[in-house]
């Protein structure tokens, strides 16, 4: 450890630079996850909403579609919140390799 690191390590735990670093780490991780999503997700979400609405009147924002990577497979997760049901959530998972 160099002398300068010694000085650096003596600075208080939360400097404005360390706050910046932490915020950036969270944000960048989030934005990278968004970025790797296929472009068809928003359209898929819209069309699904239309189909669901033929049967159940759900709110505009009742459907969320997310794509996650889990090891060597991608998981497409579809979340639909139904209005005033005993079990308010229908969850569907599609897997692909």
């Amino acid at each position: 450890m160099g002398l300068l690191d010694y000085f650096r390590s003596r600075s208080p735990a939360t400097t404005s630079a360390s706050v910046a670093k932490e915020r950036l780490q969270i944000l960048v991780a989030h934005e990278r996850a968004q970025r790797n999503k296929p472009d068809y997700l928003p359209k898929l979400q819209r069309e699904l909403l239309e189909v669901v609405r033929k049967y159940v009147q759900v709110a505009e924002d009742a459907i969320t579609v997310t794509m996650e990577e889990d090891g060597d497979r991608e998981i497409l997760e579809l979340n639909i919140i139904l209005p005033d049901e005993p079990d308010p959530k229908v969850k569907t998972k599609a897997r692909r390799r």
Partner: protein, 269 residues
Amino acid sequence: MARIIVVTSGKGGVGKTTTSAAFAMGLAMKGYRTAVIDFDVGLRNLDLVMGCERRVVYDFVNVLNGEATLHQALIRDKRRDNLFILPASQTRDKESLTKEGVERVLNELAETHEYIVCDSPAGIEKGATLAMYFADDALVVTNPEVSSVRDSDRMLGILASKSRRAELGVEPIKEYLLLTRYSPERVRLGEMLSVEDVQEILSMHLLGVIPESKSVLGASNAGTPVILDEKSDAGQAYGDIVRRYLGEQVPHRFVEENKKGLLKRLFGG
């Protein structure tokens, strides 16, 4: 065959044009036949930083529109006869910037040059995406500051997905981090992200650090790329970067405060 280098950032005003001018001059000083293109159509500035603003007759858009030949538009540097500048237009709209047109100009330049440096405009609009589309290497100019780091990360996403190399499925663009306007003192005080912080967040290969330096303004005032100011810290830092890019092992400098500062702090002198 030329190697195409894009100098990009996302965020504006971080030092792309300063870097493009210094880097192109540095490659020319190493003996390579180099061209530097201003992609900032409508906001030409590279000509000023290179000191050739009064010699602009035709520009990039004239060449794209077939109103001038590339030969007519290229300005030969007065200091180095192996360095050429293709200025951006000052007024013309960006309509003329097309993938096909840019490719044609780059192909023609590649016949007679070894390096082509593309000074990208800020943002993610057409000028910026076209500047990077044909690149082999990208210098991602970043300031140690939250919005600049975030925007650099966005550019990494675009470099990885919307480039010719990505579309052809060949070896991806080589990305180099260039941290500019760095102040070791402010890092020590905990006011500024450190080079390690930025590297950790972006996980990129560090090409070098350019310190915040008065010499940069002086250089642009004079129209002399700062790399020619060999006494200045920023000039030396750009010199190191060119050598490192060309494969030399050059230790990083200007990352820590100079020794005088340290002794001063230790002994309160």
